[in-house]
């Protein structure tokens, strides 16, 4: 007997499977207690999940802590109720800041794009390899990076600096314009994914020189992005 795959059974249980496929699965379930049980469990679990309490009880002093932070923040409360327009004018940052922050963020994004040419290359003969290695031509590419560098060694070299920068940025990020934060976070997401890809490639082929250079380059890029963001925030 051919059972429906996990995705199909789940979609059926959730009521989101297309008509044609649904008929097929329904027919299979008539003769398959194992799959029927799977569908039954998913439905029961989702029913129980929907009954979970929607609220919890905050500590009594939570508001006072929030209030204190708001009063100390870049947008402290007004002393009295003000018109929306007046509040917006008061809240607005100096004219020069927003364009500068966005321009700086744009510079970071452009630097990232021009410095990195992503080419995907097949790793080798094994089509079932978990990921494809990413080959990168980057200014950080140095001929003297030894192939013996393991992913852990690179992490050891860059990790402390990255964590320190991340910590500083977490503290100061509220001083950045939201648009800048979004661009920054998107950049970091892309870089982190590239780090994961390169690490997988190294795991599959530790002697792969391109993956080693890639990983080195990605770490350097990450440090640069974080440094730029941190100095933006400090200057805010």
């Amino acid at each position: 007997m051919t059972h429906p795959n996990a995705d199909q059974l789940a979609a059926f249980a959730e009521g989101i499977l297309g008509d044609e496929a649904r008929a097929g699965v329904a027919g299979h379930l008539e003769g398959c207690p194992e799959c029927r049980e799977e569908v039954r469990w998913i439905r029961e679990l989702r029913a129980r999940a929907s009954e979970l309490p929607g609220e919890a009880v905050p500590a009594p002093d939570q508001w006072s802590r929030i209030e204190a932070r708001i009063r100390a923040s870049a947008r402290p409360p007004s002393g009295e109720v003000v018109s929306i327009e007046a509040a917006r004018r008061r809240r607005a940052r100096p004219e020069w800041f927003r364009p500068l922050a966005l321009a700086a963020a744009a510079v970071v994004l452009v630097a990232l794009s021009s410095a990195i040419t992503l080419t995907l290359a097949r790793s080798g003969a094994d089509p079932s390899a978990p990921g494809v290695p990413v080959a990168v031509d980057s200014p950080a590419d140095r001929g003297d990076v030894t192939f013996a560098y393991a992913a852990e060694a690179l992490e050891g070299a860059y990790g402390p600096a990255i964590r320190e920068l991340e910590e500083a940025l977490l503290r100061d990020r509220d001083r950045l314009a939201p648009e800048t934060v979004e661009i920054l976070e998107e950049n970091l997401r892309i870089i982190d994914q590239a780090i994961r890809d390169a690490t997988e490639a190294l795991a599959a082929d530790p002697a792969n020189p391109r993956a080693t250079r890639t990983l080195n380059g990605m770490y350097e890029t990450k440090v640069q992005v974080l440094q730029q963001a941190a100095s933006l925030a400090r200057g805010a």
Binding site: E14, G15, L45, E55, A56, P58, R75, E155
Partner: protein, 200 residues
Amino acid sequence: MGRGDTRRERSRRVRVNATATVPEDRDSVEWVERARGGDLAAFETLYRAHAGRVLAVCLRMADDPETAEEWAQDAWVRAWERLESFRGDSAFTTWLHRLTVNLALDRRRSDGRWRKRFESVGDLEPVAARRPVTDGSPGDRMDLERALRTLPAGARTVFVLYDVEGYKHQEIAERLGVAEGTVKAQLHRARKLLREALNR
């Protein structure tokens, strides 16, 4: 087809705290406008109405109650800072909910970078159950809350976002920065682990 009301939709029907004045959603518009103008008392009213919900979301996504309370505070401060960007094209509760989920995911991502560089979505150590989310309520709901705490963080996050909060696979994939297939695999894993935990 589907589940009827998603949790996000149901969140509009907020349980009333007996000691506070809780606005219905339509009155929230006025409170939001006043808060945008810098009226902290108006913002506190919004807080009283929605703090329980924000904390519940954080509790399910964090590894422990202390972290959840920090994240909930951060979410409220961020909500105050970003009120200007709330366009009113969705309910305030929906906007607040998304902001809270995004913050929780940001924090998890940041914390995760510190601890494990090369994890896939969800191989962190399962965390032992701490104090319960609610008081009382015996039976199924307590068991599921406890069972959730035993899941690895990635599987728990996906389960909470999909089966509890009602997000779609693609939305979760975008927020986590992973493939949709990974989300489905983590969800499948979470449901399997929960079955083992609850049937012990």
